[in-house]
Symmetry: C2
Subunit: 480 residues, 2 copies
């Protein structure tokens, strides 16, 4: 359905490149309603794959999926004021049902803490009812006023939100960390996107959380993208929503909670990190189509023989669990097809022409390197499996090298500003731990502290802003 | 989490029985927002299973899942007036984003024809772009004003909606029928709910459709429940939304369309059809937990031995792909546990006590019949597999018999009204095919024509209302 290929280069006009890749590959589209988007077959298929992977992980650790309502009464949303304030400017309100004005307006959920926790309070009586470990896949709405960016900033997006209740702080700590590890595996092993992990500062943490754990990836334009967060909520919400339980000794105690989420933004990261001038490059483990077979017809050679061979190969690959498409459309040239499947990011292309038929071989072309190799026909499945593995690893390694090359250590604020201006990326610096310095830096440069690494690094200079005693090493960046 | 069991009998106060079963089994709950519900773990798990089954079917026939936005601008929704009129009184409107009034109010989707078809028109240029075969799983909102009934009538519910575009009428006809067959298999083979299939009358069809195919099940209170519908939309929407394509001869042609859906209502049907005085009875193929193991401790006997044995059995069943739970909670008596798991509808219970240990056996109890049998320990897996199969078949057979027993053939309107009053169920009658008669009957009795069967039956009397020449045999019923 794409009329032509991408007309700008990734490193020349990154933003325009991104939009063209998404639209022309048929990966997603704008919707008839402002600020919203359509997840078309191929991007939604990746989301389904991510759901499947993450569901496996969380179900194995005793979580269950549920569905809570889309609507939250204003009074309930307002209950946790700290939390509410942050979402207030971004809430879409339903005020009318049929022809009647509603007595109380209803928020479309920006997130479900309030509606879930009011219910948890009702469900929990004693320690026997704990832990509660629930998750839901749904869409959420945040009324963005800035321009839409497909997958990255839309008024409605898809996500999962996990919400758990525990008897002790230790259990909630463990839960928050366990989920972060599961996220990391999904991002790195499947999406091939390396991440830095750590803790958010007080300023950057989720409103109402005790602390927030985060995963941060680096985009080609030097901006960080938050791939997911996992919050230890402490007892903040449980006090507001009155979530208490009787312990084994019939003593009333306050519950501990976590919440965690990641969204379809990660698909935006996938496009940015791996894509190239020809279009999408999809990691084989999540690619909806892993292999495309293109027959190369030639005058004077029996086209039926090639057709039979390609169909045989299609079946063989599918039987081996490799998601394969045969593009035998008569109305397009092989060259046109190559471009289209490259634009769509299919990891491996197989070509079969008259010469290949004669020599009992196929030609295998890798999407990531454009490398071509002739493979003996009977070794096709093995060669494809190997190529898919190599592409998956190569994409991750390349992104990992990029991430590492884009961590710059600075000692002074001047160095910091220079790096931001000339290179971007993560900037590692020593910091005094005071929110004032953090706020000033944000105000003056737009960069925020993305994370405090789990493994404390030794400070190597005075605080980059105030020059006082440093407390810790943190990672700054501008971000999406 | 249930304090006590169900306190009314199914055949004494069906409505109260239903609500108690749903709430006390922890299957679902009311939400903090009026008219909405919470799909808790066990009911949502059945929905996930249904999704998995139906996805397999439609993906095998070339359909793909997508996600279109929740919001539909008023102007777009109004575009298809016939369609719009039906939904108008039930639409929830977003009028405010953050602190600002929206210029145009946005409907929360009651269904997605309009937003999808406006987009299809943009995507389709030529025959090469056809067919389009898309489906989405999402929540929809219809602003019901009647009292909420969990799963059956709530302001928000979950469903799938499929939307396809084809080059010819024949293709669209085939698609609508193919989907109906897939629905029938999900309902009958997995949910164990037998259905009658057929066509809706002009009065009862989906607004804007050429014709509507339907599946109708019979509930224990004698009312029919529509389990899903599949619409051949003809060219009605394609004309309004200007969905055209160039055929192989470069001639512009109007496209043909279908849409089809079923919702979480089917879970309501599942509860009503199979449940009994003790609570839920879940068909094994969709039960989140298929087997529960309850150890029966006894004074003076080594509890550790029983504990080890039950854990061994748990592992063995799980390894064989049987979803099993071991209930070894020390704080509850076996009797208490029996009641709880029966309430939750788990198909098979296994008990192991000191006597069973001695005799190297287990006791297997069927949820549907309460039948107990001693099984040699080494034959447990086989016995469980067999019991699960039998329960699945038995539930279907029982429901099928009930359905058949509740089809009454009548010749006169008096017989018709008597049957409705005394028995309910489906009423088979000869009809003149005129909408006037159909409307009068609905007005006077509340019964509607549920379907015209696919296999035309021979008329056996004059039209039951007007006494004129009969045209066809149809099935009436009161319905949910």
């Amino acid at each position: 359905m794409s009329d032509t290929g991408v007309t700008v280069k990734k490193n020349e006009d990154f933003s325009e490149w991104y939009t063209q890749v998404v639209l022309k590959s048929g990966f997603a589209d704008y919707a008839p309603v402002k600020g919203c988007m359509i997840f078309r077959e191929n991007s939604y298929s990746i989301w389904e794959k991510i759901q499947e992977l993450f569901n496996q992980k969380i179900k194995a650790t005793g979580h269950r999926n549920v569905y809570f309502p889309l609507f939250i009464p204003e009074s309930l949303l307002k209950k946790e004021s700290e939390h509410f304030e942050g979402f207030m400017p971004e809430v879409a309100w339903v005020t009318q049902g049929g022809d009647s004005q509603l007595e109380e307006k209803l928020a479309i959920r920006p997130t479900s803490e309030t509606v879930m926790y009011a219910t948890f309070a009702k469900w929990i009586r004693s320690w026997r009812d704990l832990p509660i470990k629930l998750n839901q896949w749904c869409s959420v709405v945040r009324w963005e006023t800035k321009a839409t960016k497909l997958f990255l900033r839309t008024r409605e997006f898809l996500w999962q939100e996990g919400h758990t209740v525990h008897a002790t702080k230790q259990e909630a700590d463990r839960e928050a960390k366990e989920i972060l590890d599961a996220y990391k595996d999904v991002m790195e092993t499947y999406l091939a996107i390396p991440v830095l992990v750590g803790t958010k500062t007080e300023l950057e943490k989720f409103a109402g959380a005790l602390y927030t754990l985060t995963l941060e990836a680096m985009m080609p334009d030097g901006k960080a993208l938050q791939m997911g967060t996992s919050h230890q909520l402490g007892q903040n919400f449980s006090r507001v929503f009155n979530i208490k339980f009787l312990d084994e000794n019939e003593k009333e105690r306050q519950a501990w909670q976590t919440s965690w989420g990641f969204s379809t933004r990660v698909i935006g990261a996938l496009i940015m990190v791996h894509g190239d001038d020809k279009g999408l490059v999809l990691p084989p483990k999540v690619a909806p189509t892993q292999v495309v077979i293109v027959p190369i017809p030639y005058k004077g050679v029996d086209a039926d023989l090639i057709a039979a061979k390609t169909r045989e190969l299609l079946e063989k690959l599918q039987k081996n669990g490799i998601s394969t498409v045969l593009d035998d459309r008569a109305e397009y040239t092989p060259g046109w097809k190559f471009n289209e499947w490259e634009l769509k990011g299919v990891p491996v292309r197989i070509e079969i022409g008259p010469r290949d038929m004669k020599q009992k071989q196929i030609v295998l072309v890798r999407r990531d390197t454009s490398q071509k190799s002739a493979v003996k026909e009977e070794q096709t499945v093995d060669a494809v499996v190997k190529a898919l593995e190599e592409i998956q690893n190569k994409l991750f390694d390349k992104a990992k090298r990029f991430l590492e090359d884009n961590v710059t250590t600075v000692k002074t604020y001047d160095e910091f500003k220079n790096t931001l201006r000339n290179k971007g990326g993560f900037i590692k610096a020593s910091w005094c731990s005071k929110t004032e310095c953090e706020e000033k830096i944000k105000e003056e440069t737009g960069a925020t502290i993305r994370l405090i690494p789990f493994e404390k690094e030794k400070t190597f200079a005075r605080c980059l802003y105030c020059g006082q005693e440093p407390k810790e090493v943190v990672y700054f960046a501008r971000s999406y």
